[in-house]
Amino acid sequence: MDSFVMILTVFILAIFIGFEIITKVPPTLHTPLMSGSNAISGITIIGALVLAGQMENSHLAQILAFVAVIFATINVVGGFLVTDRMLKMFKKRD
């Protein structure tokens, strides 16, 4: 299969999975869902890391990717930590 069709397939199927799981998240957890999913969208860090570290890349490409690493790391670290902090507060009636 052509590589584009391949990743397009992955994209469409992932959207279906996304809709399936997220509809089951109760409203009470919508804020942690947003901050947690935001941390997951920090996955862009993968692209940023590779571009920042490849020796053959021009200096400009590396600098742009370096700034991207900073932003994406804030997203990942901040996002997961704040979600953890929030979720730990949700308690059942004793």
């Binding site: 590589s3 990743i7 992955v10 994209f11 992932a14 959207i15 996304g18 799981i21 998240v25 109760p26 409203p27 009470t28 957890l29 919508h30 804020t31 942690p32 869902l33 947003m34 901050s35 947690g36 999913s37 935001n38 941390a39 997951i40 969208s41 920090g42 996955i43 862009t44 860090i45 692209g47 940023a48 890391l49 571009l51 920042a52 490849q54 020796m55 890349n57 021009s58 400009l60 490409a61 590396q62 742009l64 990717a65 370096f66 991207a68 900073i70 994406a72 790391t73 804030i74 901040g78 997961f80 704040v82 979600t83 902090r85 929030m86 979720l87 507060m89 949700f90 308690k91 009636r93």
Partner: protein, 519 residues
Amino acid sequence: MLNQNVLNIAYLISAMLFIFGLKGLSHPRTAVRGNRIAALGMLLAIAATLLSSKFEWHYIIMGVAIGSVFGAVAAMKVKMTSMPEMVGLFNGFGGAASVLVAGSALVAAMQFASTNPPGTQMKIAIVTSGIIGSVTFFGSYVAFGKLAEFLAVKWKLYTWQKIVKYGFSLVVAAGAVWFGVKSYNDAGALLAGGITVSGLAIAGILLLKKDRFPAMNVLKGILGLLTLVLGVLVVLNPWNTMLFWLLVGTAGVLGVLLTFSIGGADMPVVIALLNSYSGLAATATGFVINNNVLIISGSLVGASGIILTNIMCKAMNRSLTNVLFGFMGPTSETPSADDVYGGKVKATSAEEIAMLFDGARRVAIVPGYGMAVAQAQHAVNELATLLEKRGIEVVYAIHPVAGRMPGHMNVLLAEANVAYDKLLEMDEANPTFLQTDVAIVLGANDVVNPVARTDPNSPIAGMPIIDVDKARTAVVIKRSLSPGFAGIPNPLFAQNNTLMFFNDGKKAILDIIAAVKES
């Protein structure tokens, strides 16, 4: 060094961990673990990437170190009431990262274009990633600024607000001018000028003190078209990286305009939409670097944001287009405040409210953004505990758009140790109001306005509301009779069985607690 297959399997496992993690969020009991599973997935993806090839480490280490410190400090320090601002800001960072990765990939691709020219998929993906990322970044900054109340406001700002507001505009304007002058010789007057103008436009709009100006919607349309045209041009001519930066600038102006006029009750929609964009930007970046784990994770986040956007729109009975381009406000048919309230509003005191609880069996608390502003969540829980000790059943009825982001009230109440099974969704709570003795409305207005049910000409007609008016007695805690976001009077306040307690949210609850203890 990891072989390519091992790397891809590591990415596959990460993607699975993200899915399991999000699945954990379907119940408060499993949510903490779910979030940690997702974090583990991220750690695995990052570790595998770093082991996959020989890298130059200094940028990687510096970037991760700086980002981790900022992220961790922000996450630990932020107050629960400021969570909407925080999520808004983080969405923006995700968008910015996508733009920068796309730009970096474009620069790197052009460097090797003679031996390995970029394919169509990569070019289109770079453009998409640039557009969505830029709209997300600038849109999120505006959302952050409006939530933190320093953009599009007339009143005096605190020092930190001034620093952020003027500093951001100054940096954008100076950057645009510097970039334009520097590239004038290579790129020509049109491109260099265009980049400068778009930067100055962003900086300028952000300094406005009103959130609307004439022809705003026309401008949004023109910019949308311009962005598309530029996108096509970049795909046709990727060698001209200046064209890409002009595209990013134009998309940035569009992002600012799309969010600038939005406020109040519409904020949850925008935050959810930007959340979705930040995911889609990551997906687009995945298409740029041909990476499945980016595509999968980005799609999950994109889907999540779209679902939340949809829920928020439904909860206001408005379409997304209406939120982005429309204006919500009183129409000519809206009765005046004097007609609705004239002589019929009954003010009450803490002592009178305390007496209402004698013989009450069921109390429902309906929180709104006012509770967040007054930081009254802890006081509310104290009152609820006191009432429960007297054998009264206390529940919380929460409207989906109460607050400034989806689930905002739930997090605040969880912070104040309210058990999550006492927080009722609107549909669950509404049938119970006929059996509710006292309903306490704390800092909510439009979401309890019965006009939504009764007057088809009202700007909030058809919006699902919390049926507070059906409780035996409704107590509304509010500073004054001023209208909510929709700008219309609320006949609930003038109803026979409604008592108004004019006070600050927190002080009111504390006064009631004192009165209940005395009685």
